[in-house]
């Protein structure tokens, strides 16, 4: 059986190259409602049938009203929505609509009780990327509905409302691009991307979770294409192996994080 991919796209060219693939659902970051993408889309630009929209910006008092307006304008080709803000969940819960609702509460949803609680109000949820394989498996076993797994891509590991690159440029009177690379003293590398709504830091390497394909109780396998070339994405979609030789970054899936520096 083919895996169902939810492909988070940030360039138009990729869509035309993959639109014949029957197992791909396109997920479009929406202009003015997302952070952390090179390109976001207006509703008019989304022509694909059964498309999903992506809303990961945390919405302020104006943003939530703008979202309500957006919801009223959604064309019929939009089948579902993936979102982060709980305000969006409340709007979707209280406004008549037939959207498939997937909660992507970034860095939360690390346990099955939370996920099942949210599943009372939505159709699916994205399992946190910040937990181990074993923890993911337990959640899949315990979840009351099929879930979405973040299966491949750079991971959004920090979201600030500040314009960090703009501020840096202003302070040093310089001109660093709004998509840049950061390196810390440990020589760890990160990618940083700013738009008018804030700044996102991504892992320097893409997380390879292709080993999760074929799991039970999964609605979609999400692939985030940001910073990936079209060829890489096509390779990943078509691969029958886990591509671990080429992509070796396992993020936090192997070792559980430390809570205390020293136990009492």
């Amino acid at each position: 059986m083919k895996n169902n991919y939810l492909l988070l796209v940030d360039n138009k060219n990729l869509i035309s190259k993959l639109k014949e693939e029957s197992n791909i659902t396109f997920l479009f970051p929406i202009k003015d409602f997302t952070v952390g993408f090179n390109q976001a889309f207006t509703l008019d630009e989304i022509k694909e049938e059964n498309a999903f929209i992506f809303v990961n910006r945390l919405l302020d008092h104006e943003g939530i009203l703008a979202f309500k307006s957006l919801l009223k304008k959604l064309p019929s080709n939009i089948k579902g929505i993936v979102f982060d803000d709980i305000g969006v969940l409340e709007v979707l819960k209280t406004t008549p609509n037939s959207l498939v609702k997937i909660l992507f509460l970034n860095h939360f949803n690390c346990n099955f009780v939370s996920i099942n609680a949210y599943l009372e109000d939505c159709d699916s949820a994205l399992v946190s990327t910040d937990i181990t394989k074993e923890e993911v498996n337990t959640i899949l076993e315990q979840a009351s509905k099929p879930l979405v797994l973040y299966t491949f891509g750079h991971i959004n590991i920090m979201y600030s409302r500040r314009k960090l690159i703009t501020n840096y440029n202003e302070h040093f009177q310089t001109n660093a691009p709004l998509v840049s690379n950061l390196t810390n003293d440990l020589k760890q590398e990160f990618k940083i991307l700013e738009n008018k709504y804030g700044t996102v830091i991504y892992t320097g390497k893409p997380f390879n979770g292709l080993y999760m394909r074929g799991s039970k109780n999964v609605l979609y396998y999400l692939i985030n294409t940001v910073f990936l070339s079209d060829e890489e994405v096509i390779d990943i979609i078509n691969s029958s192996t886990d591509l671990t030789a080429k992509y070796d970054y396992t993020y936090l899936s192997e070792n559980e994080t430390i809570v205390r520096i020293k136990e009492r």
């Binding site: 008092h61 860095h107 600030s160 520096i261």
Partner: protein, 395 residues
């Protein structure tokens, strides 16, 4: 209700916070708290803290605000039942699993939603209100208009930070620490990677994203006007001196607002005292505008330590203070006393006696006990600091 809410990393700090004017404190137990490396409170200490607070008709909120992993759920119900049994006034939570556990098991606990949930709009607030949340600690990124809109449309109790360190990220939306050091930021282990320095595109200039501290002294009255109920000071890892100083200054500002006697000079003076104590600059951050480069530091950590905290009063009897030293001072120094329910006053050190009653010129050692003559009564736990700012200069 208007509430000044203080942090407390242990029982000593909790008592100081109340003595210096806090209406409520928030604390963490050994488990489930986002300051896993603070000393925190055992079950017996939690009980003692609540009894101490309730005797003063004050309140204690307990943080249960980690993002739970599956195994963290073991024992959660029993822990919450224990907190209810000792009558804590509320729990501060970020994970819906805690809300669900409280509601499904009918545990009589008031629920406050943590700032970790990054609430910025009224629809999100309504979602949690419908789950039984009584109060929301808003995202530090919330603007005045966001706060007012949420208050007007939900009627919920709102708690806002007014002082202390800022995350660069939306709280809860950062796992830089997990990735860089394997220390879990959302389970209390944050290594504050956002305060490190970075190279950007291998340029020579240092990229930094460290925010200056938050300080809302200028806007307290305005915040009261738009319906903020609880004014929260950050810092469960902070010292007794920090807590005493900050709570003392904000208490005075609150009281002056209440008596309609607040002047700009009061705010400027308090800000200087607070900033020096925190060793950092502070600004209102998101309340009145989007922060710019001026609300950040650009060379990593820029804290400048000082030794202003000189000692704490153990006893005052027969015009003599018994003081436990914290930092070096000597005869001739001009210092200041500030303490519970008293106005700060200036004092020139004319004489120091050691514990044997011998005159000494210098008090050199932290924890050393010395006697100082005094012309008035000062309460136990009054603090002595170096006099740096003079209120007269602000008039």
């Amino acid at each position: 209700m208007i509430e000044l809410l203080a942090p407390a990393g242990n029982l000593e700090r909790l008592k100081i916070a109340f003595l210096y004017g806090a209406d409520a404190v928030y604390i963490g137990g050994y488990e489930y708290s986002l300051r896993a490396n603070a000393i925190n409170f055992s079950k017996n200490e939690l009980k003692e803290a609540v009894e101490f607070a309730h005797n003063l008709k004050k309140r204690v909120y307990v943080t249960v605000n980690i993002v739970f992993h599956n195994k963290d759920l073991n024992g959660l119900k029993e822990y919450l039942e224990d907190l209810a049994a000792i009558r804590v006034d509320a729990v501060i939570v970020s994970d819906i699993a805690v809300i669900k556990t409280i509601k499904d098991n009918h545990i009589p606990l008031e629920i406050h939603l943590s700032t970790q949930a990054s609430t910025l709009n009224y629809e999100a607030a309504l979602y949690y209100k419908n789950l039984g949340v009584k109060r929301i600690v808003l995202a530090r990124e919330a603007s005045r208009d966001d706060i007012k809109d949420i208050k007007d449309k939900t009627g919920l109790d709102l708690e806002c930070f007014i002082q202390g360190a800022m995350c660069t990220s939306f709280s809860g939306k950062c796992v830089l620490s997990n990735v860089a050091t394997n220390r879990d930021s959302n389970r209390g282990g944050c290594a504050q990677i956002c305060r490190w320095v970075f190279l950007i595109n291998n340029e020579k200039d240092v990229f930094s994203m460290t925010p200056k501290d938050l300080n809302m002294a200028t806007y307290l009255e305005d915040m009261m006007g738009i319906g903020v109920n609880s004014f929260k000071v950050e810092g469960r890892m902070r010292s007794v001196y920090y807590i005493a100083t900050v709570i003392y200054e904000y208490r005075h500002l609150f009281d002056k607002i209440k008596s309609n006697t607040l002047r700009e000079s009061d705010i400027l003076y308090s800000n200087d005292i607070i900033n020096r104590c925190a060793n950092r600059e502070s600004t209102p951050q998101f309340y009145d505008k989007m922060p710019t480069s001026l609300e950040q530091y650009y060379l990593g950590r820029e804290e400048v330590s000082n030794q202003d905290f000189l000692g704490i009063v153990q006893e005052c009897k027969d015009n003599v203070i018994l003081l436990e030293e914290r930092n070096y001072f000597k005869v001739g120094d001009v210092v200041e006393f500030f303490g519970p329910n008293m106005e700060a006053f200036t004092y020139k050190i004319e004489e120091i006696k050691d514990i044997l009653g011998q005159n000494i010129e210098v008090a050199r050692h932290p924890r050393m006990q010395v006697y100082l003559p005094i012309d008035r009564m000062v309460p136990k736990d009054t603090m002595m600091r170096l006099k740096v700012f003079d209120k007269k200069d602000y008039l």
